[in-house]
Symmetry: C2
Subunit: 547 residues, 2 copies
Amino acid sequence: MLSDPFKSHFLFLILSFSLCVSQTLALNSVPEPDASALTYLWPLPSEFTSGNRTLSVDPDLSLAVAGIGGNSAIVRAAFDRYRAIIFKHTSGISIFSRFTGRSSVYDITKLKIIVNSDNEELQLGVDESYTLFVSKNDGKSIIGEATIEANTVYGALRALETFSQLCSFDYGTKSVQVYKAPWCIRDKPRFAFRGLLLDTSRHYFPIYVIKQIIESMSYAKLNVFHWHIIDEESFPLEVPAYPKLWKGSYTKWERYTVEDAYEIVNFAKVRGINVMAEIDIPGHAESWGTGYPDLWPSTSCREPLDVTKNFTFDVISGILTDMRKIFPFELFHLGGDEVNTDCWSSTPHVKQWLQDRNMTAKDAYKYFVLKAQEIAISKNWTPVNWEETFNTFAENLNPRTVVHNWLGAGVCPKAVAKGFKCIFSNQGFWYLDHLDVPWNEVYTAEPLEGINDTSKQELVLGGEVCMWGETADTSDVQQTIWPRAAAAAERMWSRRDAISTGNIALTALPRLQYFRCLLNRRGVQAAPVTNKYARRPPTGAGSCYEQ
Amino acid sequence: MLSDPFKSHFLFLILSFSLCVSQTLALNSVPEPDASALTYLWPLPSEFTSGNRTLSVDPDLSLAVAGIGGNSAIVRAAFDRYRAIIFKHTSGISIFSRFTGRSSVYDITKLKIIVNSDNEELQLGVDESYTLFVSKNDGKSIIGEATIEANTVYGALRALETFSQLCSFDYGTKSVQVYKAPWCIRDKPRFAFRGLLLDTSRHYFPIYVIKQIIESMSYAKLNVFHWHIIDEESFPLEVPAYPKLWKGSYTKWERYTVEDAYEIVNFAKVRGINVMAEIDIPGHAESWGTGYPDLWPSTSCREPLDVTKNFTFDVISGILTDMRKIFPFELFHLGGDEVNTDCWSSTPHVKQWLQDRNMTAKDAYKYFVLKAQEIAISKNWTPVNWEETFNTFAENLNPRTVVHNWLGAGVCPKAVAKGFKCIFSNQGFWYLDHLDVPWNEVYTAEPLEGINDTSKQELVLGGEVCMWGETADTSDVQQTIWPRAAAAAERMWSRRDAISTGNIALTALPRLQYFRCLLNRRGVQAAPVTNKYARRPPTGAGSCYEQ
């Protein structure tokens, strides 16, 4: 598939970059909202220039690949997905035109994708940068049509998303157009970890729905699906080593098989999204005991898990061994939040165990968390823990621990000051079940707030929006996630200086409304942007672009 | 594709019917709710028997067709769709099993579909009846495995839906099972017209979303998509004869091309669903004047449409000519509701026109509706009008008029008494935007209420649930439609005596909850069934099957 022009694609790249630079007069500027221009991108690319030409895109757009990583199944599948998205509105037209004998000459008939590495390992910090040029090939330049260049296939996926957002269906010509061409975009994410948590314990989500959510994440360039699989309410996952665990599911139909989990991981991977699994221990684990009541300190004390028994840690080790086969991501979440140890102290055998070791219940909480960390590390995982572990015994935490903030402001600054990595999920802004947080507060929450030292800033891996499931099920989860998750996504992807100045009602809101309507067109149930409360229906008739 | 056993399929059918009858000891009974049995069907078939065996279904289930209509593209496409639905959860398993060397012998490896007519015209009253047998072929009987017989492809589609509902994924064996086999089902709808209205004027719905809604309708065996395309707020449809009309769309991106409309009609047809288009005149038509201001009596009187001008009726005729090419269904909805003629009387040229003709404004309303009916009839359409037309001038309405009830009870009895056909949509029960109507009130609303004469009952074509769009957009439309539309769907499909007796909290609710979870599994955002108000999120953690 190496076509002639690509034989010297290194020369091409040098030329194209210099052309891009020569066009960067408008670089760094945020476009003025102008509904007629239709060139809104979300999240905002790192650097871009645009022109004032309108180009038509051939519905039979073809793919040409180059570079040692170009001939990748991931790239080809993504091209097919995006072609279906871009031409969603024109499938009928294309056939119709053939009947009516209409014919067209299109400005863009080919998309060239160059991938410079064939390493498809998807790990934290994988290179997601890309360059995207869209211009008309006038025969004079070797740069023409649409060209993507990336170091990895994952950068190419991000570029495809951007390209798809440049394409819009024009009802006048009944064809797909790119406005404001030529486009010259150089883009990369600000943070390596841009997550969304989904809680499948409070409500079960069918795997089809989980896939829809993962697919929609890719539209906003989010890249970590934090799967909060299990909690006190239900244990839906199959664990071969302990086959009674999923007796803790709500019903026998609300379960995930091992194969389901593999399928979700693979579905996410080919969209450049890692899956970070979580088992939230020792609290939030009552459902474990449905299958194995020995995990409960007693029938009246069902969580935290019984700290005194080897069996408890055998089960944890068994789960982690089984999960290690499924989840290749280097981060594994061990929970550790909201551990109420009261009933440990009132359960005779646990009380005795504590006395024998001269431990307080708080000591036992630390003991539990550290022992679980050791198990995870022994299986070559980097442990992530909710911030209570750091708040309670920072000095004992394994130094590889990633601290996951949620309770409030100021935790990441403290964690990175002590050398820990940190993930920002301040519940006041990035807990999606907090319905009274409007889009602009989600948007302006800043993971680096209070961290001024560049070397410390680098310890903030990124952030995560959290979709806790108490009132979110299949019927309403997408509209609770979107559009506010997109506000956080731009915060995590785009340059801080580009999105933190100016009046966001002008620089961000119209683009976010456009992105929300784009999600709707793609079948994602994103709610109106300017609702006072999240996920509420529109208050009256009106255009998607104004609600 | 005619396999040997089908060469004598008429003999086969006679035998199979008699077998079915010989098994009808349990016929007419409503199954007791029993979560472990997993054999809930929605809507309830007309007649059925079941047994106590569990049969496994081959993920490589094959299709065999017979009958002069069996070799239909509609049947083959539907089989592929349903195979994807039935084995949604097992695609990973199947591949996994190959790797692990597991192998299975399945009870059901083939689905036989016999269609007795090759007439694929889809009109009101098309034969949707079918017979479905599911039993293990033990070598003794010529009836074995799964067999569908129908007079038309549309009956076969209904049977495929029923078959898919009999199949459920078993997490123990990780395979698809049919419980309570053998099944012997003979089924047909009670009403010919089982509709859902979607309003694409108050909010624009992308065609992808409209398709999702139509697809979900087929799961509940609804068969008329009433497309309320245009209203006063926006005019999204392209009309080639009057190309400025869709200037009345909200934005240039919230439009439907002629090709989109064709695509929707075809998408619906292959699911056995007719599309009934509506232009709501002379009220509810302000948006028409954005492109053609002459349609407004004046800039301060923008609706009802100007009754005095030939141009008004030329435009209506032009729209209907263009629409006739797109919509083959024999019914066309001309609206006619909520016509406030006040501003006609205060617009000088209209007032003069009325005076010249010695007409009241009410006379002019009648004149307008009857003239529009004539135009529709001249284009070989049967006109449907909202009940105000009947309430105001029943004696003048064209006798072919179908009266569409909405304001309240008692209208269909009056309409059929005068010989008109009628559609039941009593807003107190079947307007889905009325969020305070719980599922049981939707379920018990009866289209034949107050009509005891069998010959008059036959004039009630059926009913329709109405999804008005003021507070429904892409984000919330499916959860507003479902599950309550399903309650009406069973009312319209199933035998009145089978669903109108007993305690519906036992006979219907568990099946409806199961159907709601089935919709969720298929990716449809059906809301919890027992919410006090429709489309509200679940009030707390819990199983789909109990909310």
